[in-house]
Symmetry: C2
Subunit: 121 residues, 2 copies
Amino acid sequence: MSKSPINLLNKFSKFTEHWSPKVVAEMNDYQFKLAKIKNDFTWHSHKETDEVFIVIEGAMRIDFRDGWVDLCAGEMYVVPKGVEHKPYAKDECKIMFIEPRGVVNTGDAGGDLTAKDDVWI
Amino acid sequence: MSKSPINLLNKFSKFTEHWSPKVVAEMNDYQFKLAKIKNDFTWHSHKETDEVFIVIEGAMRIDFRDGWVDLCAGEMYVVPKGVEHKPYAKDECKIMFIEPRGVVNTGDAGGDLTAKDDVWI
């Protein structure tokens, strides 16, 4: 019997809001999350874990206190644990990011952009 | 100062061999590996971990004892730990897969297709 793949663009078609991560898969205690992002996110860091960003469609920038990285579709970057960063996208950008289950999107910063855990699509 | 993203297609351009995983990134104790695959791999399982497959270019199939999943570019699948599987691609397919550092590609099966650990590109 045929099993269903996880189609990323299909999953992205199911929501419109920005900075609102949706879980699409789990691997052991890690989660794969999709988000549509636009404009500035909050400066924050994750003391306990690295975080991987993969751009699926569009372009984004991650600012660091000592520089930045520009990412476009088909590119990825690992933000090391403890490193302050601020994601940004001029136009809407579709990203997948990967981190342990339970990590809060705004890390140590909190605030209005803090998302609910574990929203699956 | 600008930092360098990991560009997946650029990394794929650096090797030609099939079933020979190359590490492109680490997140905590997990590795992101690229492979070009074609034809049949070995039936095997990983007793200790789930394994994520993401198709970057082309199409592949993963056979299970009780079925299969067809994956094309932009699709992913999580093979649960302990589940026997056999990757296959009719034509060359470019994939990224994610698993803990130190996992052997042929799992419990061994054989000629067993790759060296930790080859970075």
